[in-house]
Symmetry: C2
Subunit: 106 residues, 2 copies
């Protein structure tokens, strides 16, 4: 057992940038905390691999992004559930913290 | 892609009880939101299976529980990372919401 404290990775860089912390990496899953400053866009991307991921909004708001300019509003407590091979991204409208879970880890 | 709104499953039962919602179930992971009222103890348990889980505190405080009466303080933003076969549990000292991620899903 290991405790991870997300409070300890609450660090933002300059406007429009992202800071990230790999908070867990194991044979079954990877957890990454990204802290996006307002205006940052995490570009839509995908990987041609089997598996799934979640993007959970810990703080702030913006949008989950998908294929063909799809946008889904995203606020604290919202989780995007996606296949790894589906296009996915995030836009931060305010300073925004997200927790990404990837399984299996890539 | 599918959006999960944790705001929609913020429901507590009577004192000392737990309410839970399976918010995602897929070949790679299972996500369960448990809402524990103050005083509820999610008993220490384990399963003899390969895999890992995380228990993330969404709201409230209490303790992560482990083997041999181990206790680790748990507050909003804390995550317990554990093997599925390691004993794990939770005690809610206040009303407490947790998000459990299990991979592979069991």
């Amino acid at each position: 057992m290991k405790k991870i404290e997300l409070d300890e990775t609450r660090e933002f860089l300059d406007k429009g940038m992202k800071r990230f912390f790999l908070v867990a990496d194991s044979p079954y899953l990877k957890l990454i905390n990204f802290n996006l400053t307002a205006g940052h866009v995490f570009p839509v991307h995908s990987h041609d691999l089997d598996g799934q991921l979640t993007i959970q909004v810990l703080e702030g708001s913006g949008a989950f992004l998908g294929a063909e300019k799809a946008e889904i509003q995203a606020k604290t407590g919202d989780i995007l559930f996606s296949e790894i091979r589906e296009p996915h991204g995030v836009r931060a409208d305010t300073d925004m913290r997200i927790l990404v879970t990837i399984t299996p880890p890539i």
